[in-house]
Amino acid sequence: MTAVFWKELRDHFSSYRFIILVFMIVIICGAAVYTAAENVRGDVRLNPTDFIFIRVFTTSGDTLPSFLAFISFFGPIIGIIFGFDAINSERTGGTLSRILSQPLFRDSVINGKFLAGFVTIAILMAAIVLGTSVLGIAAIGIRPSSAEVLRIFIFYILTLLYVGFWLGVGVLCSVLFKKTVTSALVPFSIWIFFLVFMSMIAGLIADWQEPIDRYSQPEEEVNHQDIQDKIALVSPVVLYSEASDIVLSPERRTLHGITQARMEVNPELTDFTPVSVRQSLKLTGPHLIVLMALTAICFAASYIRFIKEEIRST
């Protein structure tokens, strides 16, 4: 497996897709940090708190979205890009027959490729997060506290798991589909489905379970929202955005987004004093586990499909 891993890693780092991604990310993160820093400085004057630095990651500008929004958008793309042609490009290139007639288990081909993609992404992400932090420090002139550093680190791990999940989806599709065009389109379609349609579907189901109109009681509204949130959690996109928001926003103390109705039902929610890292982790623990479980499912499916498959060189 190590042989496969090192070859793939080398391939990734010399590939065009890697270079293009680095370029894109540098530009985008620079822009995100710039606008965030502008707004954070204004914010601090109005509303001083202990957690200033970390807002570099979550604050959006008038025209540009926040760093977090950028990463949640590009994470899946990066994952899919490093995985979608892992197996089928070797199949069409005729190298798969040659590799699989060497003494190595088939799953180590998948593992080696996944791991190489994962390490590449980990390095890329580390560079992004570090770069953003350094830029942030330079821009707002405040050093992060240790709690903030810890939160940023947890966010990094969380992001890796998320991107790793999409990498797993990409690799699975590269096993399932013979054509790289298909194996690129399918994971992107899945992503767009979760991104766009999942909340619509969740809304529809919630409407059907707990219909509300403008005369509804706050309790009913909250119930409606709870149903919608629970269903939306099926989506890895929602899992990640919720978890990363909790990790990067120390003042968040519930899983659910804070709405007018919820605050009416539960006045405690108006308490915005920051919580400890441990408490935030407790909230996001299930998210992390579910993300890992989803990745494991992709793996299992890839193995099952690939292990006994016939390998013809045409």
């Binding site: 290139g93 027959s97 060497q102 288990f105 006994k308 013809r312 060189s313």
Partner: protein, 311 residues
């Protein structure tokens, strides 16, 4: 009897309705060069895939050096070099780097690998382009690199699926020499599939002919020849000075004659035993004179054609 390297027992592969390989029983001894002959779709590649554990038999089993190919694929792959039908390389790597990757996958030590790579490249005549990207290779060069690729791992058994496709005539004889060299100088067992008979005839100790998944004939070329004789395919070619109806009648009355083809003054007489003497006698008796009489030697091609036209 030498050690058996390849052995299949009732090896069968069924795809839906088609029986690609039908109860194949094969035995190949150490150091042998075995030719696997058959028309397109006969089941050659399918058999080879089963020998390498790249697909599972529907029924029966295959063993390489005693290892079951389905349950002990790693042991099989450690000692077997395989050149697929359409061999592919990483186009952005050089020939040497491509081979290096294979040595790594075989957990060979770096130094040993370097020697083997050079040796393999030299033996197929690709030393000058060793550091060129494979993407810039011609089809024939890739095919030759495929043979080098098989050699680097120092195999005990080499399985080549149509190794000479896409190579020019000079290259073909070079490749055939390399293949013979593997067997003669290194004691490697070679199984090669092909539909090019004259090549197989040149280098193989033994051939197996497969048609529609069934092994229809197997043995040395001489053995296949004699088998044909007993099947009523003995042929005598004669040229006579004068061809008369009387002569034809006489010939037809010879015991064992199954058919006569006439072209001008030349006759091909088919029979199920040697009838040369009776034929010469008949010619003289009819008042004609034989100019030439000879038993026709079956080239492998005819054997091959015969089996393929049988159904």
């Amino acid at each position: 009897m030498t050690v058996t390297v390849v052995e299949t027992a009732e090896l069968t592969k069924v795809y839906g309705e088609t029986i690609a390989v039908d109860k194949l029983n094969l035995k190949i001894g150490e150091g042998e060069v075995f030719g696997f002959l058959g028309p397109n779709g006969a089941g050659k590649t399918t058999t080879i895939l089963m020998l390498l554990g790249l697909t599972e038999p529907t029924y029966g089993e295959a063993r390489i050096s005693g290892y079951n190919t389905t349950f002990e694929p790693l042991n099989v792959k450690r000692i077997t070099g395989y050149l697929p039908e359409n061999v592919g390389f990483y186009n952005d790597l050089t020939a040497r780097e491509n081979l290096r990757y294979i040595t790594r996958l075989n957990s060979m030590r770096r130094q040993e690998a370097t020697g083997k790579i050079d040796e393999a490249l030299k033996s197929v005549g690709l030393m000058e382009v060793a550091d060129k990207e494979v993407g810039k290779f011609s089809k024939g060069m890739k095919q030759r690199l495929g043979i080098a690729d098989v050699l680097v791992k120092d195999p005990k058994l080499v399985i080549l699926d149509e190794p000479t496709t896409g190579i020019d005539p000079a290259g073909v004889s070079h490749v055939l020499d390399v293949i013979i060299g593997m067997a003669r100088n290194h004691g490697i067992t070679v199984l090669l599939s092909s539909h090019l008979l004259n090549q197989v005839q040149k280098i193989c100790d033994r051939v197996g002919i497969i048609a529609k998944g069934k092994l229809v004939a197997e043995g040395s070329i001489e053995k296949l020849n004699t088998e044909l004789f007993t099947k009523g395919q003995n042929a005598v070619e004669v040229q006579v000075t004068e061809l008369t109806d009387g002569l034809m009648n006489l010939l037809r009355s010879i015991v064992g004659v199954t058919g006569i083809d006439v072209t001008g003054n030349s006759l091909s007489i088919f029979s199920d035993r040697d009838v040369k003497k009776e034929v010469s006698k008949a010619i003289v008796e009819s008042g004609s004179l034989p100019i030439q009489i000879k038993t026709r030697d079956y080239a492998l091609e005819e054997i091959y054609m015969k089996y393929f036209s049988e159904d």
